[in-house]
Symmetry: C2
Subunit: 430 residues, 2 copies
Amino acid sequence: MTSPKPRIVIVGGGFGGLATAKALKGADAEIVLIDRRNHHLFQPLLYQVATAALSPSEVAWPIRHLLRNQKNTRVLMATVTGVNTDKRAVLLEDGTQEPYDVLVLATGAQHAYFGHDEWEQHAPGLKTVEDATAIRRKLLLALEAAERETDPEQRRALLTFAIIGAGPTGVELAGAIVELGRASIRGQFNTLSPDDLRVVLIEGADRVLLNFDPDLSRYTLDALHRMGVEVELGKPVSKIDADGVSYGDKRLMTRTIIWAAGVAASPVAQWLRIEGDKAGRVKVEPDLSVPGHPDIYVIGDVASITRADGKPVPGVAPAAKQEGKHVARLIRRRLAGDTATEPFRYAHAGDLATIGKSSAVIDFGWAKLKGWFAWWIWGIAHIYFLVETRTRIIIAMSWLWIYLTGNRSARLITHGQAPERKPLEEIDAD
Amino acid sequence: MTSPKPRIVIVGGGFGGLATAKALKGADAEIVLIDRRNHHLFQPLLYQVATAALSPSEVAWPIRHLLRNQKNTRVLMATVTGVNTDKRAVLLEDGTQEPYDVLVLATGAQHAYFGHDEWEQHAPGLKTVEDATAIRRKLLLALEAAERETDPEQRRALLTFAIIGAGPTGVELAGAIVELGRASIRGQFNTLSPDDLRVVLIEGADRVLLNFDPDLSRYTLDALHRMGVEVELGKPVSKIDADGVSYGDKRLMTRTIIWAAGVAASPVAQWLRIEGDKAGRVKVEPDLSVPGHPDIYVIGDVASITRADGKPVPGVAPAAKQEGKHVARLIRRRLAGDTATEPFRYAHAGDLATIGKSSAVIDFGWAKLKGWFAWWIWGIAHIYFLVETRTRIIIAMSWLWIYLTGNRSARLITHGQAPERKPLEEIDAD
């Protein structure tokens, strides 16, 4: 009789968890990956689902499918509610437990509203496939409602779209919404003109893309202006309700607000009964283990760790992937009986953001790119990093099609009803 | 001053309504197409969305987009609640009205449960994009739940899928569910084997594909058996509940039941305050107008009309399209001042059904095809009839991919939660 194999439990099938599982392929252990969803999501392109350029199934794949060739790995679709560190078991919502020898927590972040949770109902964020189709529905229904609205003030509010937060997601959404709105209106609505559309990007800091080189921020601001996006800088949001948003000393009447500002870590710190930082992240040891729990690693957006130069490791996909691979390497060593550890070293590849058709910025640190050349690099890089061959082909084709014809293919309103003259909030509540 | 143009109002953006609107391109009239959804749906391929082969946006397109080149046509996303035939106006849910000079009603059919509306919650039908993603979710969640279920009886119920009704939709669903289930299980679930899967097709009549030649029905039955589908003929369903389905003298324990049996017309007869037939359809004049209302036409699944040979015109897409074109021709004549009418003549192109990979049946009347050759014709015909060039390419590619690799790309569970050990019905109620 052989003794049972060590159990490695990974919670979360995002970039970090998936990278960990993949790097443990063939390891002599029983690996269990738990996620409450059945799919891995390629979040960098989720804004394109929200703006009808791509379909959900083009940016999401079943985790089981991605790990189908790993005999040592089991995928569990279940919701984790806590960790019993004494018994070394993950607690699931249905009351069962999954015991572990080594635990990797990679549960990511959710949007956070700076203590104003009541804003969420009026300003949804963009983290899940459902978030994306809900925002798509909101955008398209606003145009449908505007087409039928006779009151000029209401009409203006319906045709005004506000995005809170000018990081990469906010910038990409602003550009894509202008393009979606104009292309949808052109020739397809009788009472609307593309010029009626107003897209306002609101940012508390004094420049867009705060993590990029200031020169690229300036370029991006100009590019947004050229596209017709209004950018409001240095004006923190003070109020969001069904009628609009207040920021600085201004008030904007709008029926569509999208939140791209703050995120907070998922409740891993509570699970472990330790103190998180102010965004709820777990301050990990240099090797990504949890202080006092050498058998638990925390990676990705839930981990707080600094680089050699003192800057924090950013909450981006490449960081989560690198952390997953690092942890898998340490686990493989453990399995071989070697408990020596090693600090994680982050290699920053660069920051990318696309602004609209034929315009993007890339900050490699050692080089800055902007304009159409950066846009092509951005597109090629994203296609390269997609998980599946089939998706690479389909997305390349979808983009080519939009590039050549301007037609966005996925302009479906699902789970929605025909607009009546009542607040859109009610319509969306499904 | 010119007098206002005649107003043609079309209700419904399915095959019939869209064909009417397209055939009125350039007509000297104001055309208004009203639909409560923003998209036209290519229903013949909807079962492929339900079985994760295609994405919703591959079988549905915004109606505005399809009619974007028609200057004389306005598209309205709104819900119709009735018709005021005295005032000649269509009543909308928000209390407004749309006046008409000529009205075309093309609102299609919904599933009907033979007076057992309580069955719907346990046995959803397949008519809308949301129906398809709900069925997809149900199928995929059943596998996820089975993977975690330890009670053998519950497990068997989770791995049993029942389809009620062996018309083309039921046959196509049965074949596709076997393929989806086996391909999903293979190598991707630890506790499940493809052999655990049970698909049962239940039909009240004594053969499958009742509208086809009996020889093709026999062939289809054999093909289904070869695929491993259990077919129960001559056994009408007597009860459907959360635990399973009763038919004939049998009882099948299953957690997933799909309704592909009966349909009923949408409530056009009530709107017009006339008597419908037993499926709720309006018995129209030979020219498709409503008796006593020469300015109102009813087409598609809501119209009841017989062919020259006394058989009813079937509720299929080609019939609806032909009727739409016929009505548009009569309307163009009217616009030219010619009130002479002409009876509608239906040209039956044939009946098609696909059974699974490389197998289909086609009944042209003058010729019967079956097997792989019929399957290729079926595929080519469907791609040909798709509305958009882009979709033709994408669907051809998706099919080729599945054909070559067996990987279905759209296996996403959306709007669902991780399975717990509670009835699936609760999980799906979103």
